[in-house]
Structures are given as structure tokens and as C-alpha cells.
Symmetry: C2
Subunit: 249 residues, 2 copies
DNA sequence: ACCTGAACACCGTTCAAGT
DNA sequence: ACCTGAACACCGTTCAAGT
């Protein structure tokens, strides 16, 4: 009953690396849902339990997959200014992520950072510090970058796809224009501005870079103005907010 | 063999709302892992299959949970300027999210936006447009906000917790200082700046507001300068990036 | 209309045993 | 040292049946 397509009577012995690389391949090709210990074992021509000699459990397998992924990110370019250096590294992280669509979900499920992950973060922090950023501002900047440092686009809720039938589409459009006038106004405008992109949806790469540059420019401005966290900027906004809260009560 | 603690011989009839509210409660109290159709049914004193009369499958249950959550967000305050209006709404979304720790994971798993979700997004877009933002800039701003509009902090990889034994801690610290000098330098500084926060870790609320204000200030600046997406800002950075790419080749 | 029981096709993981 | 077989305690969901 076993598949005749898998005849490795003599099999290369399993090891941690072979297991995690196979896991990455399986997730790349068949999606994260298909990555069960049982499926992975079958892919390796082995009984499920054999995997547990090389990986303590599925969580550890995920950790190992993330390590493989982080090692794909371009190394630091030491001769660049802080801004292009950060930009290059993070855009590289993004191209890596695009090769592994399962990555965001797996990254988010990790409960602690591995040495490989910490190395990456350490180099990013190093870029800020070497450029003379204060420890304080560097700290906040790293938090503000958040998952964007891994190349996440962090969109949620893709808009439902429009019907293909033109008549249905017209009707749907009409209903939406009433219920969600602002969305429709914005979306139709966006579709016309740049004809090079696919007719529906927008250019993810552009949106990623737009947001990244917005943050980098913001960091630069705060750095140049000698910003520190014990300053006006926050309390100003905070008092606005508490004014709003008071009003509602 | 059935539990003697659940004697509702006459039970209020189930409906969609009772099912989803029970799901929210179960996830709040016991975590997302505990929210299985079987557990939920037991919580409601019913056999698992009974749920499927009110909800097509587990995905639909998740959709309904998100709806319940979005409806908890403060309504729009029409008398505010665009910036405090956005700020208030998004900070409200954040407090809602903090009440429901399972929400980020569930939100990210949704494949399309429900009417309730679209309503929320429509009002945010409306705030920009009413303030005179171009359709173009509004579109990019919404993407740049990304999951932050739902109050996500979007941290990943919490640093591993330090050992409690002081001797181990000293040793760990020494090793980290060598391997991750920048992380250590930044982290120790951050712990000293604000004594009001817990000794380790940092103030999540501050980091969220810092990043939010950074984006809002950026939007304001672009708006005032009449920014449009067909401009220099991008090509400038893009040419920098391609210069880097060329260099590496 | 609403609920039930039994079953199907899966999971991750433990344990004791094989070579 | 490395792999196996059988089993355990779970999943979401289908189907045919009950009241």
C-alpha cells in the first residue's frame, strides 16, 4: 500500500537541518496547513515519530524554520549611511518574506527570539547607535518599526473581491457607494492613478516603502531635533486625548 | 456520566448571538486554544453539532467574534479635528484589543472584511477626506496605518526572560553583552529612564502612541506640503536602493 | 425548527519496543 | 543511535436520525 514513487531503500540519515529544510519546502509549496508532522514525515519517507529524535516538538520545528529564513536576509552593508543601510536591510527582509508566505504567521507565533533573530535585531540597533541616535530614540524607533523590520506589510482585512459578472458588479458597486462612500471614493481614485499596476488592488511594494520611508523620515527628524522621551510631544497629545475622554464622560 | 453541575433541563434556545458571545467569553477567559467547537458546545450545555445550526463553521464563528469586538470601539467624534479624531478612535480600538488578547491572531486569519469592519474603515477614511487630504494620500495613509488602526502593537519576538537566580543572571548578562552588545546597551538604558514602569520590559502604551504619533505627524507634513505619489520622494529613495543593489552585484 | 449520536478523517505526542 | 507500531486524547465536520 506504500507509494511506489518513493523507493529509497537506503536513505540518507535524518538530521535537524534536513528536517527543517524539508519543512520550509513543504510550507512554501503546499502552505502552512499542509505542514503537519505526519505530512512532513511522509515527505521524508519516514514514520512520524522519527522526527521527534531531531526536533523536540512542532514549536521547535517552527523556530528552526525562522532561523533558516532570517539567514536568507542580506548581511549588513557597513559602508552605507544609516538610512539607506536600514532601508536596504529591511527591504531585503521583505523579499525574503515574499518567498515564504507562511512566515508572518509563524513569526508571530514565536514566544521568544532565537540567537539568529537576536543577531539581526542587534545589527539594526547598531545602525542607529553608530549614526549617533540616543539610546532612548533608538529604543522607540525599534518598537515603532515593529514587525516591519521583518518585512511585514501588516495589512489586515483584504477587501472582498468584486463579482465577475458585470451586471452583479454594477449592483454591488451601487450598494457599496451608499454604505461605504469613502471607501469607494478612495478605491476608485487609487485604481486610476497608476495604470502599471493590476486593475484591482494596489501596489504592495509601494505601500510598504511609503510607510517605511515615513518612519525613517520621522526618526531622522526627531534625531536632528534632539528629541527625548521626557518631552512635550507626548504630553501634548496625551492631554488632547484626556480632554476627549473628559468630554465623553 | 454527564456533569451534575449543569442541570438546565429547560435551556434558553441557542442563537447566533448567544453562540458568538459565549465564544468571546471562552476565548477571553481560557485563551484561543481552549476555543474548540467541542469546548464551546460543552460551555453552552449542548452537543457539538448543535452549534452548526447557528454558524456554518468555525471561520464564521471567528467572523462573528470580530464583529462583536469592532462594535466595542468608541463611535466617531464628529466635532474633533482630524488628528485627535483619528487618535481617539485608534486608541479606543487599542483598549478594546487589550481586553481581548486573542483578537490579533483571529483578525489576521480573516480573509475578507465584514460590513462592520468596513464601516469602521469607512469612518477612518472619512476623517482624512473631510480634512482635505487627497484621495491619493488618504489611500497610502490607510495602508501605512495598517494593523495599527486595530490597535495592534505588532511586536514580534519578545526577548527571552532573564533567569531569576542572580548568579545565572550575571553570567547570562555577560554572555549577552558580548554577543548582542547593542541590544544590551539599549535595553539597560531603557530600564533606567522611566522608573514608573515595571523593572523589565517597557511601556507598551507609550510605544504604541509614539509610533502612532510618528505616523500622524508624517501624514500631516505630507498633506501640508501637497505631497503626491508621482513625486520625487519615492524615486529618490528608490534610486538610492538600486545604487545599493548595483554595488552588490 | 432545533438538537442528537455515531462516525470519518485528521491532529500532536507518549510509550515501549525493535534493530 | 536511530527508527518503528500502536495507542491516547484530542480536532472540525458530515450524515442520518430523532423530537
Amino acid at each position: 500500500m506504500s507509494s511506489p514513487k518513493k523507493p529509497p531503500l537506503v536513505r540518507a540519515p535524518l538530521n535537524r537541518e534536513r528536517v527543517s529544510l524539508a519543512a520550509v519546502r513543504l510550507a512554501d509549496e503546499s502552505g502552512l496547513d499542509a505542514l503537519s508532522m505526519r505530512n512532513l514525515a511522509q515527505e521524508l519517507g519516514v514514520v512520524p515519530m522519527a522526527l521527534y529524535k531531531h526536533v523536540a516538538n512542532k514549536e521547535e520545528l517552527f523556530d528552526e524554520m525562522i532561523n533558516a529564513l532570517v539567514l536568507e536576509i542580506d548581511p549588513l552593508q557597513k559602508d552605507l549611511e544609516w538610512k539607506p543601510a536600514l532601508r536596504h536591510r529591511i527591504l531585503s527582509a521583505r523579499t525574503v518574506l515574499l518567498r515564504h508566505p507562511w512566515a508572518p504567521h509563524v513569526i508571530e507565533s514565536r514566544t521568544s527570539a532565537s540567537p539568529v533573530v537576536l543577531d539581526y535585531m542587534d545589527t539594526l540597533i547598531g545602525i542607529f547607535l553608530k549614526a549617533g541616535f540616543s539610546l532612548d530614540l533608538t529604543h522607540h524607533a525599534m518598537h515603532a518599526l515593529g514587525s516591519r523590520m521583518w518585512g511585514f506589510i501588516q495589512e489586515v482585512f483584504p477587501t472582498p473581491e468584486s463579482p465577475t459578472d458585470p451586471e452583479e458588479l454594477a449592483e454591488a458597486f451601487a450598494q457599496w457607494s451608499i454604505r461605504y462612500p469613502n471607501i469607494i471614493e478612495m478605491a476608485t481614485a487609487a485604481n486610476h492613478t497608476d495604470e502599471s499596476q493590476r486593475t484591482q488592488g494596489c501596489d504592495d511594494q509601494f505601500e510598504f516603502e511609503f510607510a517605511l520611508d515615513l518612519m525613517l523620515d520621522g526618526f531622522e527628524r526627531l534625531h536632528k531635533s534632539g528629541w527625548s522621551s521626557t518631552q512635550v510631544s507626548r504630553s501634548q497629545n496625551a492631554s488632547l486625548e484626556s480632554a476627549v475622554r473628559g468630554k465623553r464622560k
